[in-house]
Amino acid sequence: MFGLGKIFDSVFGKFFDSIGMGWLGQALALTADIMSGNWVGAAQDVFNLVAQFTDSSWMNKVASLQPLGAFDGGGCFGDILSENTLGRLFDSAAGEGRGDFGQFFSALNVVQDTLHNGAMVSANRRFAMSSQAV
């Protein structure tokens, strides 16, 4: 364990902090004793894995949060989720029985708040721009 703290305080440590993975050193330290733990058994696999990296360019493009998957790509939801769409979905869910869709109702409420706040921001922006124009 002697060198573990050193590694995670070093240049590598800064790299891991910069990608939101400062927890890694602590997590490995928490495995009690990396030498006696099952990490030693997995060591060769890990070294082989790292040896396959072609260069270090991947280090410039690392997800800093736990990746979501298909929803990670971003995109514009405002064009698709309108007040009309939301009204239809609330009506459909109510028609099916609220008890079956408790969590979906909560999700719709968040979507509704978001659209409402977005509309407020747009209105405030329009108001500010029109005030400047006067």
Partner: protein, 157 residues
């Protein structure tokens, strides 16, 4: 540097007339848009709102790998590991080609000291991105590098 998934295809859910999502008439586009709104809150750290959306999506389409993967990621972030693993396992079952659930499971396994399971998932995530361009797979590479450096520092050759 938040990750951008390289696979933007089907959400892998059912959405047919027989499913809850189908009965509610939620289109694939609407389903995706809600997921993206959840992702926005997730990136902003407004996790209660993100969780409400992802849970709602899982509720109406339990066969959506995307919804399980997103909820599993959020629960990994909040360290609700048992619940996270249930969703991540399901996401992998539904879409074995999606990288994110392997990466998040590996993180949990590292924190739990389950080396073999962690390495297996890191390998899988890395193998799915041979060009080294996917931010999620690169997160797996960073974990592998960190473990390798820690092992070397501990004298393991």
């Amino acid at each position: 540097m938040e990750g951008k998934a390289t696979r933007q295809g089907s959400l892998n859910g059912e959405g047919g007339q027989g499913s809850l999502r189908g009965r509610l008439g939620v289109s694939e586009q609407e389903f995706r848009a809600m997921g993206q709104m959840g992702a926005m809150y997730y990136r902003q750290g407004i996790l209660d709102k993100a969780q409400a959306i992802f849970e709602g999506l899982v509720e109406i389409d339990p066969s959506s790998a995307a919804a399980h993967s997103a909820l599993g990621a959020l629960l990994t972030r909040t360290e609700s590991f048992d619940e996270a693993l249930r969703h991540l396992d399901r996401a992998v079952e539904l879409d074995p080609e999606e990288i994110a659930p392997y990466v998040n499971r590996a993180e949990i396994f590292i924190k739990q000291g389950r080396a073999d399971a962690a390495v297996a998932d890191l390998k899988q995530a890395i193998a799915l991105d041979p060009r080294e361009t996917d931010p999620a797979a690169n997160r797996a590479r960073a974990m592998a590098l960190g473990i390798a450096e820690a092992l070397k520092a501990s004298g393991v050759k």
